[in-house]
Amino acid sequence: MDFLPALIPVLPLLAFAVIITNGRRLGWSACLVAVGASLTSAVLAALVYSRVLLSHETLAWSFEWVRWGETALRMGVRIDGLGALMLFMVTVVGTLIEIYAIGYMAGDKTFSRFFAFVSLFMAGMLGLVVADNLLLLFVSWEIMGLCSYFLIGFYFHRPSAAAAGIKAFITTRIGDVGLLIGMILLWWTAGTLRFDELLLAVPALAGLGDAHVDLMLTAAALLIFVGTIGKSAQFPLHVWLPDAMEGPTPVSALIHAATMVAAGVFLVARSFILFAQFPAALTVVAWVGGFTALFAALIALTQNDIKRVLAYSTLSQLGYMVMALGLGAYAAGMFHLITHAFFKALLFMGAGAVIHGFHHVQDMRRMGGLWGKMPWTAWTFLVATLAISGIPPLSGFWSKDEILLGAFHESPVLWVAGTFTAFLTAFYMFRLFFMTFTGRQRDGEIHAHESPAVMILPLVVLAVGAALLGIPGSPWMGLWVQHSLDVPAYALAHHHHSNLVMGLSIAVAVAGIALAWLMYAPRPTIQPARVARAMGRLYTLSLNKFHIDEIYAALIINPTRALARGSFRFDLGLIDGAVNGMGWLQRALASLKGLFDKWVVDGIVNLLATIVQALSAVFGLIQTGRVHNYLLLASLGALVIACLTWWNMG
């Protein structure tokens, strides 16, 4: 039964294969196949989780995949506490999202294709979680990347969706090649890509004290982190994620909550041994995360598209997780990953319900007053918003507090930034909530309605999770979740509880909510427009996302295209030109030679002919046609020859 965990990603993969080949025949029932597969996976994941929890053992199973000479690459599964928790989270959230999508995608012509790709996506994510080596992780990682391309660009007839899909794939691909090189570097330095072998090999190599090896491994760690930057949308490769909102909302929930973005964080956690040994790498991770958290929160303040606000909040929360890992607060980061998966999935699905009920309008400025029309959605959404804002005892509070605690001990600057980000988070989340659900509807032409039960049910389940999941990880329960991760000794940074940090974090959350109430309540005390004017350039910068997209267009995309055109012109002009020029030269030479032939070579031949002709005219005279004359000459010749012979002999 060791390969049982391997089945967990295989089931959705099979679902994908079944649906993609029989899509037309299955029709609506495609969703049953997909949900069935994920549900079975979830059950299996629960079994695995319970087993790992109970025995604290690591499940592992592998087979030889490729062999060259004495070297072999093995593929297989390895599930420890971390993996088991992730499996549980991914399958549960994923299944709920799929159930939700049954309602959301109903009536879409491409219903079955949607479920096919979602299944493949799940397979990719689950494969990544169970992978026992970096290569298999990379394979799943890429499959997920491809699915994100299809899912983000799902409405492919919309040019903006197709462009967003490409943007997502290529941006993450940049990170992927970093990971690829990191893997290769690691292979050449440590000689293995298997996590359990790395756990032994890396400390041994680091213990050598060889500066070159240290440098190589640090470089490998940083390159692997480049992969994380791409996948988890950290600055500066974050640009794809907000655009990824072009996909259907369940996809946004899947990508931004449970799976894809979590993969990057998970990668760092998985290969944490590398980072733990090299503080330089850790520092980079921490600062990238911290910066992203603050940066994204600043942008989220001013966005008006409901999904975009959530997207930037995702960026910001991912920044928290990455920062936590970078600060050595491994368990806190992973805990936040889990809680975030629940409340962020809930937020997206709630937003999806709003959009669904609001006839696919996403602009918050046209909403308002939906509380009465969509009570289920509003209540669950409120739970999630409170959770992300960090109000105890909801899940977000506990995990975020753990991170800030780590920052407080490790890096005061990041702690300040993190706390400020927490304030901003509370503010913009409640800005969103107030703008959407309270007051009265600003665009009266749209008749909003509550979503069907199939969409509400997952919302409720997730709301329960978002509310209560923090408890097992709270200090009341002795940080049970964190301990269940089997945190390796190398990653154990145990921080003493601090009332200051906790109190401050609650205070800023409440302050943020209060400020949002003042500005965006039905009867605002502070006019947002005046604040915006007061902020001046800062406001426009935030509204325009700090112009990162434009900068990239100017610095990277356009030069790349120009380079492509230039290369093509170079190819046509210079290389092919050289070839054609060679051809032309040969032809020119040939015609020259033709002239030469005509006048010189032929000339000589003709001259010879003329000479011969002239001579023949002369010698023709002796060709009388009379036998006698010939005979005479022949005799003369014979005589001459005889004379010569005799002369020689004599």
């Binding site: 995949w65 490729v66 890429e142 499959i143 090649v177 090189i181 070839v579 051809g583």
Partner: protein, 492 residues
């Protein structure tokens, strides 16, 4: 039973039958015979795989007859781990291309005669173990190809055909000179590859490096290596679809096969001396042609340039001089054969329906042709190196193998991977996505015949990507032994 001879000359039998007994106006008879005689080698190649013992790195199924005894030239055939996959690939793609040739009715008799002759040359190249014989088959390929492009090609067919012919001929001549140099350098003079294997390694280094350059030129033009690649886009664009398939799928492989069979094992010192230049050319090929491909509007040219870009990985992988690098380079050779062949078939499917290859003229075809779209996406993903498909394994192993020797070059080459992903996705977007171009509102989806010519390739792509040992257990013993002969480390 002389299996290799039978395989090689079965198409010749078909050729003679068509030539002598079939009236050219009976197109149906001609093409049925052509397809059947392209299918028989596929069966025979399956037999070769069945008989071949992968664990034995020696030449097997050897046939050896004296041919021109005065010069020590022999009719010497045999296969080892690096020729068997090539024979299978050739047989498979020939059959697929034969199916793709179904619509050719113009001068069908001549077409099939040239097509079958082409197969003879290709099989012969991959199974001959005598340099002279190798050269003969190598040149045999050239002639039918010239006519196939020049007669059945597009508007600029004469230009392309002549360009192809001259380019390749220049390379062949350089190669022949190299062969002669080897021939005269060893005592006793011989062209036999198995005999030369152990002998040439001790030749003077200068000689080796010069001869390697000459032979390199011959193979590099065929591969093609930048900057000798410009015949390829023209030839591909003008050639009819099945011929593009053969050209990309098999003919380019003759070049890389030449490196594996002759260039590296016979001239190890030469190869070692030029390995850096070799790798640099590979990286230039990967990155530069990817950029060029990005700028294309013509679908077929895009595929052609991407094909050149992929062959760069072969060079880079080989330049690492490790088993995994060689293995990856060889994997790329096979994988690229399958993928580029499939890509050209995809282009052909579209061209048959729309009579244009301008990427900007399409759009939204996914809605009209979902099965075709799926196939195109599958092969594009394979080409851009998506894990789970053959292209990824090839790229990964090549880069892994080359990294130890050329870390910075490998670092640069990944830029090509990103660019490849970019232009492949842009291509998919321009063809399949966006709003449906109303011109193509009545387009029919892929036909059963077209689909069945793609399915074997799709299966191969996925199978090789998921389970690489399928190929590697055949090739690796041979490659390991070759590296042993060359004298390089087999690790890591």
């Amino acid at each position: 039973m002389p299996l290799l001879t039978i395989t090689t000359f079965t198409p010749l039998v078909g050729l003679l039958l068509i030539l002598l007994f079939v009236d050219g106006r009976r197109v149906n008879t001609v093409r049925w015979m052509g397809v059947i005689f392209s299918f028989l080698p596929l069966l025979l190649s399956a037999a070769i795989v069945a008989v071949h013992q992968p664990s034995n790195p020696d030449f097997q199924l050897v046939e050896r007859l004296s041919w021109i005894p005065a010069l020590g030239i022999e009719y010497h055939l045999g296969v080892d781990g690096i020729s068997v996959p090539m024979v299978v690939l050739t047989a498979l793609l020939s059959f697929v291309a034969a199916l793709g040739s179904w619509n050719i009715t113009d001068r069908a008799k001549e077409y099939w005669i040239f097509f079958l002759l082409l197969q003879v040359g290709m099989f012969g190249t991959f199974v001959s173990l005598d340099l002279f014989l190798f050269y003969v088959f190598w040149e045999i390929v050239l002639v039918p190809m010239y006519f196939l492009i020049g007669i059945w090609g597009g508007p600029r067919r004469e230009y392309s055909a002549i360009k192809f012919f001259l380019f390749t001929l220049v390379g062949s001549v350089a190669m022949l000179i190299g062969f002669l140099a080897i021939y005269f350098a060893v005592e006793p003079h011989t062209f036999s590859i198995p005999v030369l294997l152990g002998r040439t390694g001790s030749l003077p280094h200068t000689l080796q490096s010069v001869v390697f350059l000459a032979i390199f030129l011959g193979f590099a033009i065929k591969v093609p290596v930048v900057p000798f690649h410009t015949w390829l886009p023209d030839a591909h664009v003008e050639a009819p679809t099945p011929i593009s398939v053969i050209l990309a799928g098999v003919l380019l492989k003759m070049g890389t096969y030449g490196f594996f069979r002759i260039g590296f094992p016979l001239l190890p010192e030469g190869a070692r001396q030029w390995s850096f230049a070799f790798a640099v050319l590979g990286v230039i090929g990967i990155v530069y042609t990817a950029y060029v491909a990005m700028a294309q509007r013509d679908f077929k040219k895009l595929v052609a340039y991407s094909s050149v870009s992929h062959m760069g990985f072969v060079l880079l992988g080989m330049a690492g001089f490790t088993l995994v690098g060689f293995s990856g380079a060889y994997f790329m050779t096979v994988s690229h054969g399958v993928l580029s062949g499939a890509m050209f078939l995809c282009v052909g499917v579209l061209y048959d329906r729309t009579h244009t290859r301008d990427l900007d003229a399409f759009g939204g075809l996914m809605a009209r042709m979902p099965i075709y779209g799926g196939m195109l996406i599958l092969f594009s993903c394979g080409a851009l190196g998506l894990p789970g498909l053959s292209g990824f394994v090839a790229e990964f192993l090549s880069l892994l193998g080359a990294f130890g020797r050329h870390p910075w070059l490998v670092g640069i080459s990944v830029l090509g991977i990103v660019i490849t992903a970019a232009f492949m996705l842009l291509m998919m977007r321009r063809v399949l996505m966006g709003p449906l171009n109303e011109r193509w509102a009545n387009l029919s989806d892929i036909s059963a015949r077209e689909l069945w010519s793609l399915i074997p390739l799709a299966v191969a792509t996925i199978a090789l990507g998921v389970f690489p040992p399928l190929l590697m257990h055949i090739t690796d013993p041979t490659l390991a032994r070759m590296l042993g002969i060359i004298g390089f480390e087999v690790a890591p």
